[in-house]
Symmetry: C2
Subunit: 465 residues, 2 copies
């Protein structure tokens, strides 16, 4: 619980209107995409880095927790107040401060919505590639905290690859600048990339300088229909073997297809797997690459390949892809969504392994995701009110992680660890490495006030609803 | 000085043949490209991570320093034993363990020569872009320690962007694994990128998993002749404004041209600046981009543009570019080479500013380098035996750094800080950030045994020759 004294001090920093402890407000900032809820003690809306600094300084002095929050669209609980404390929302810090066309950089505040920022830069012929599926609501600050990826990562990389420099409020309240606003820079330790993906546990990002690239002139989007997952996975391998680098290479399995079938049941009859393949670049090379992809997919067993010829067709196609995740709830009321990654060549082993794990336990495990970089979103569908099924789902997660790691993979490609994977951390990361990471956390945050209970297993976290 | 007891213990780890304290051997491992020399107490040649671990564990226990060394081609003293200690050469750890064509990754030991590795992967139609000018001798381990860049960084990024995971021996002797062998991975803190560019002060890289990409099918190399630096800088800006992303965009100033003029004096008569522009990709788009570059350069004032039409012509052109650095010694016996970076749009201000700084002090400051990402190599030529000139050169460095920082730049794009820039660190990095970096160093290396005297100013470093 936050004392009255602390609450009044927070009001003094941001003004009475910008901090709240009303039940209604707390509820609004209590959840994320994990579908779990933890009430914070208060929520605060600072306007700038200086206010963030003063809030954090106070928290450090008085010993209460601060949990930074963008849009709350995370899948691993990163923005949840799992042990109370003050949620610090960045929603008032949403200015695009500068888009520098000469230097292909942009300076933004953390609360900027990723998709809105992308629209701004694309209007200037520029491109900010990271495109998490949540991009229409998620923020740059949240993307940085989790090192968000997305379909385009296969060609363009993830958020980390586009962050040049940061302004960060440390857990002590000190404001630091990391990195540079130039393309290169190697002076001192790379605090920028240490912050990216640190899930709000080492500091709060209050500003970012991002790298932009020229917008690809031309994009061709193809939808390839396969009888089964093995043919689709073979096509993925063959595209890589043909030295083609698509800008998107998305795999959709049969469970996921079922969920989007209502769009057009006839169209998907007998289809066991889909690939969405996008190639981009200069029109001349795009044309050739699209033909190459077509040939490779057909040779691998595609029964049909549709090419989206106009913007509307592309939009519809992506709408269907994006609808999978919410539509899965038609299968079961609850979902465990894990974003495992395996080496590209192991996708088929992962998918067939997951199918077995599901079958053994009478669970549906729907898989789709970024096959181009081996990042598969597996969705274990279950009913939380059915204790036995919930227990089987939990066992399936563990076994799926064991399978992933045995194939040389990682248990998270772009969602982070947060709370949901904290107990599995040491399945992947050795004890020496975890000890080192804990020492780093202590080095930044000796009092442990910043986003406690995340990444590292913390049994004190208590789910309240 | 290393005690006999410690020397014998080192022999026990690697065998008598793989450690030496003979004057001849020590001399061979006493220098780097800074043209300064510091004798280590011993040099040791471990064969694998386990031996490195045992050596470092011993050093940590007994309190002597370990300085990791690749090829010793660094420009900032990173591999020099500035306060004695044991130089650990990675030259016996030079195996390319695996090139995984299916997953576009490679696993290598740190002593692999960058260029040799590039030849291996290119033979398979793959590409490892980082290309420091020293690539024919420098090692992957050294490149990782310094986060090396090179001409291709403008399009492809630097070493950091191609390191997926590392095996590292910590200053305690513990062996850790960082990162993943997959394209994505966000589990725990990003120790991988924290190690990259840490200049051997946080650990010794004993293995690396690198990301590869498909080799561009086609490359066109152009040499554009300009009357002066302002026209060439305008062409750089105009290429960026035209949303072209060349794979190389190198600027060569008039002093540097003088040094390569012997190749063909007539050809360079009246030429005030050169640009080397390379575009790569599919042949169809390369052709179009080359035409665009041609048009932009001509419009910006290029008096002539040569296109290298065969491999030999390209090789000759790059040979001339690479000869600049050594050929500068024709102007003066000593050189201070600094790799400053400014935002692309500030290149002309940097170059004219450096010209003024040189003129005021009667010094030649020759500039060339990676204009595409604003990374200019400025070479202050002087005679070390002329005390007054040496003092003026030293003043010029400081003023050049001040100019660079006033333009929003950084004092090192790819060489690192090492010893040569340590005293300037706080010109760029604030005291809070430096204090944080020092805490990180202590967190990794509480006894300060690993590459002491680097990055952070350390007055105890004594140059012995």
């Amino acid at each position: 619980m936050l004392s009255d004294k602390n609450y009044i001090s927070l009001e003094e920093i941001v003004g009475k209107e910008q901090v709240s402890a009303s039940k209604e407000d707390l509820l609004c900032y209590s959840y994320d995409a994990t579908n779990t809820t933890y009430l914070p003690d208060a929520v605060i809306f600072p306007a700038n880095a200086l206010e963030v600094s003063r809030i954090v300084e106070l928290a450090n002095l008085r010993g209460f927790s601060i949990i930074a929050r963008g849009a709350g669209s995370g899948f691993t609980g990163g923005s949840l107040a799992v042990s109370g404390g003050v949620v610090l929302s960045t929603e008032r810090m949403k200015r695009v401060i500068k888009i520098d066309e000469e230097n292909l950089t942009a300076t933004v505040e953390p609360g900027v919505i990723t998709w809105e920022f992308q629209q701004d830069v694309e209007a200037l012929g520029l491109f900010y590639p990271p495109d998490p599926t949540s991009k229409k609501i998620s923020t740059i600050g949240g993307n940085i905290a989790e090192c968000a990826g997305g379909p385009r990562a296969v060609k363009y990389g993830v958020t980390r690859d586009y962050v040049l420099g940061l302004e960060v409020v440390l857990p002590t309240g000190e404001i630091i600048k990391t990195g540079t606003s130039t393309m290169k820079g190697v002076v001192g330790y790379d605090l920028t990339r240490l912050m990216v993906g640190s899930e709000g546990t080492l500091g709060i990002v209050t500003g970012a300088t991002l790298r932009l690239i020229p917008k690809p002139e031309s994009v061709v989007t193809m939808l390839a229909f396969f009888p089964g997952i093995s043919e689709a996975a073979a096509a993925v391998a063959d595209i890589v073997a043909a030295r083609i680098m698509p800008s998107t290479l998305e795999l959709i399995d049969s469970f996921s297809i079922k969920c989007i079938e209502e769009y057009d049941p006839v169209r998907f009859a007998g289809v066991g797997a889909l690939l969405i393949v996008e190639v981009d670049g200069r029109p001349e090379s795009v044309k050739i690459e699209a033909e190459l992809v077509n040939g490779v997919c057909k040779a691998a067993g595609a029964t049909n390949i549709e090419t989206a010829t106009d913007k509307r067709a592309v939009k519809n196609l992506w709408k269907a892809r994006r609808s999978i995740s919410p539509a899965l709830f038609k299968l079961k009321p609850n979902k465990i969504n894990e974003d495992v990654v395996v080496p590209r060549s192991k996708i088929i082993e992962l998918m067939t392994g997951l199918e077995s794990i599901g079958k053994e336990r009478g669970l549906i495990i729907a898989c789709f995701g970024h096959a181009g970089d081996g990042n598969i979103h597996m969705n274990i569908m279950y009913d939380r009110n059915d204790d036995a099924e919930a227990a089987r789902a939990s066992e399936a997660v563990k076994e799926a992680f064991e399978l992933t790691l045995s194939l040389g993979g990682t248990i998270s490609g772009e969602h982070g660890v947060g709370t949901t994977k904290a107990e599995y951390l040491e399945m992947e990361i050795g004890s020496v490495e975890v000890a080192l990471m804990r020492r780093l956390k202590e080095c930044f945050d000796p009092k442990g006030i910043m986003n406690p209970g995340k990444i590292f297993s913390n049994k004190s976290a208590v789910r309240v609803t």
